[in-house]
Amino acid sequence: SQTIHQWPATLVQPVGSPLSLECTVEGTSNPNLYWYRQAAGRGLQLLFYSVGIGQISSEVPQNLSASRPQDRQFILSSKKLLLSDSGFYLCAWSVRVSGRGDRPYEQYFGPGTRLTVT
């Protein structure tokens, strides 16, 4: 069965410090990977998604970047954190469909990382 891991679980960082959050998926190959942020009072927002190694699409202009160095590894980074980067960061995966699929596929989420920027 498939498992998705995120670490760290919680993080407290000062403004201006760098950030690296990691997400790994087990039990599947060639997944689509996603980074979402859930901020207080703002709902769940897609930040980045990736359909393959080195392929990153950004949804929202921001202080963050993402990378996919390996097939099942997705990293969220920042060079200098802002207060507004605080939130709950969730990684998700779904099956990658090649060609024209006949249905949407389930999207599964990790346990999340709670980031507090002070």
């Binding site: 769940l44 897609l46 998604y49 949407p104 999207q107 989420f109 346990p111 999340g112």
Partner: protein, 112 residues
């Protein structure tokens, strides 16, 4: 206005009672996803609906997608304390676009 609206925003229900949560889209859906989240935790996948008129059930939770594929409801029968949490609907609007757009969530509290 939001592409995806959930109602109600919060719901307090006595244990054993039935309840319904609604999710309405301003556009036709390619897929509609229901998730449950406990505070501080990740999202638990409940169900995904694709076809107009489709209905799926898992234990005491039933989700339906209307024929026009713009509205979904999540119904819980004989609610239990374990049902408490935040319910989120997520919308996918077309093939090739893997992104999910989420509603603002419904916070469900179950009173013993």
């Amino acid at each position: 206005s939001q592409e995806l609206e959930q109602s109600p925003q919060s719901l307090i229900v006595q244990e054993g009672k039935n309840l319904t949560i609604n999710c309405t889209s301003s556009k036709t859906l390619y897929g509609l996803y229901w998730y449950k989240q406990k505070y501080g935790e990740g999202l638990i996948f409940l169900m995904m609906l694709q076809k107009g008129g489709e209905e799926k059930s898992h234990e005491k939770i039933t989700a339906k997608l209307d024929e026009k594929k713009q509205q979904s409801s999540l119904h819980i029968t004989a609610s239990q304390p374990s049902h408490a949490g935040i319910y989120l609907c997520g919308a996918r609007y077309n093939f090739g676009n893997e992104k999910l757009t989420f509603g603002t969530g419904t916070r469900l509290t179950i009173i013993p």
